[in-house]
C-alpha cells in the first residue's frame, strides 16, 4: 500500500478526533490528504509524536489518533512502554512501517525484527511501500498549527 493511501484510509473514519502526525512525509501527506485545525503536525522533534498524543489523551476526554512511522517510533521506543503503562482508552496509534527512513533516501531501520503492536496497546502497524512521496512542505507556520489546534480543543471541551 502507498503511505498516502494508508493515511487516506485512516482519515476516512476520522470525525472529531485529534490527529497528531510525526515529522517528515507523514505530516506532509496528512496535510495534503485533509488539513484541519484538529491536526497537529509535528514538523521537527522526531520521536515525540506519541508522547504529545499521550499528554493530550491523559489530560482530556478527546479521542486522539497518532500517525507515526517506524523511524519515528524507534527514536523513542520507551514511549511505547509508557503508552502501555498509562493505557489511555482514548488513544489509537497507527505506525506506517516502510522499514526505512524514506524522506532521507531510504536508509534502513530495524522494524523488520520488532513487532511494535506487541509492545503497546491500541497500536496498529500498517506496512507501506518504500517511497519518498512528493507532497510539498506544509505552508502554515508551526505557531499557527499550535494556536489553531489549541483553540479547536478548548472550543469543544469533552
Amino acid at each position: 500500500m502507498k503511505r498516502i493511501d494508508a493515511i487516506k484510509k485512516i482519515m476516512k473514519n476520522i470525525r472529531d478526533e485529534l490527529v497528531i502526525s510525526s515529522t517528515g512525509m507523514i505530516s506532509r501527506e496528512l496535510y495534503a490528504v485533509k488539513d484541519r485545525p484538529r491536526n497537529f503536525y509535528v514538523l521537527g522533534s522526531m520521536g515525540n509524536a506519541l508522547g504529545i498524543g499521550l499528554g493530550i489523551a491523559i489530560n482530556s476526554r478527546h479521542k486522539v489518533v497518532v500517525i507515526s512511522g517506524d523511524g519515528e517510533v524507534f527514536m523513542s521506543l520507551g514511549t511505547l512502554a509508557l503508552h502501555k503503562k498509562l493505557n489511555p482508552k482514548n488513544l489509537k496509534h497507527y505506525i506506517l512501517d516502510n522499514n526505512c527512513h524514506s524522506s532521507t533516501g531510504g536508509q534502513p531501520t530495524c522494524s523488520d525484527v520488532v513487532d511494535f503492536s506487541k509492545l503497546a496497546p491500541n497500536t496498529k502497524v500498517i506496512k507501506v511501500n518504500e517511497e519518498k512521496g512528493d507532497a510539498p512542505r506544509i505552508p502554515i507556520l508551526p505557531k499557527q498549527i499550535a494556536r489553531r489546534f489549541k483553540n479547536a480543543i478548548s472550543s469543544n471541551r469533552s
Binding site: 499528554g55 491523559i58 482530556s60 509508557l82
Partner: protein, 111 residues
C-alpha cells in the same frame, strides 16, 4: 507547586524531596518524552512542569529547538544540578550557559 496541574519527569536523588511530596506525576523513560507529554498537556489546556537532572539536559535540546521554539510553547523546568563526581563535572559547569544559549528562561535550578 499549586500552579501546576500536570507534572512529568525523570527522577534525581536531589529531587527526591520533590517527587516524594508531589506523589502524582508521570514517571517517564527519557527527558524528551517528559517534554512531549508536557506539550500535549499544554495543548489540552493544562499548566505543566517537567523535572529532570542536568545530565538529561542534552536529551531535551532537540525538543527545545525544534518543538518549543517554533511552536511558541513554553514549559517550566525544575532542574537538579549535579557537578560531581567527575562524570557530572562538565555538565555541572555548563548547565547555566547551555540554558542561556538555548534562550531558555523559565526554569528553576536545585543546587
Amino acid at each position: 507547586m499549586k500552579k501546576y496541574n500536570f507534572i512529568a519527569g525523570i527522577p534525581c536523588s536531589k529531587l527526591k524531596y520533590f517527587t516524594d511530596r508531589i506523589k502524582k506525576y508521570i514517571p517517564c523513560t527519557r527527558e524528551d518524552e517528559a517534554m512531549a507529554l508536557a506539550v500535549g498537556a499544554y495543548l489540552a489546556g493544562k499548566k505543566p512542569l517537567v523535572f529532570l537532572q542536568n545530565s538529561g539536559l542534552g536529551n531535551i535540546v532537540d525538543v527545545i529547538t525544534s518543538l518549543l521554539k517554533p511552536y511558541g510553547i513554553k514549559i517550566d523546568l525544575l532542574i537538579s544540578v549535579r557537578n560531581k563526581p567527575e562524570h557530572h563535572a562538565f555538565m555541572g559547569k555548563i548547565t547555566k550557559k547551555l540554558l542561556k544559549l538555548l534562550e531558555y528562561r523559565n526554569y528553576k535550578l536545585v543546587m
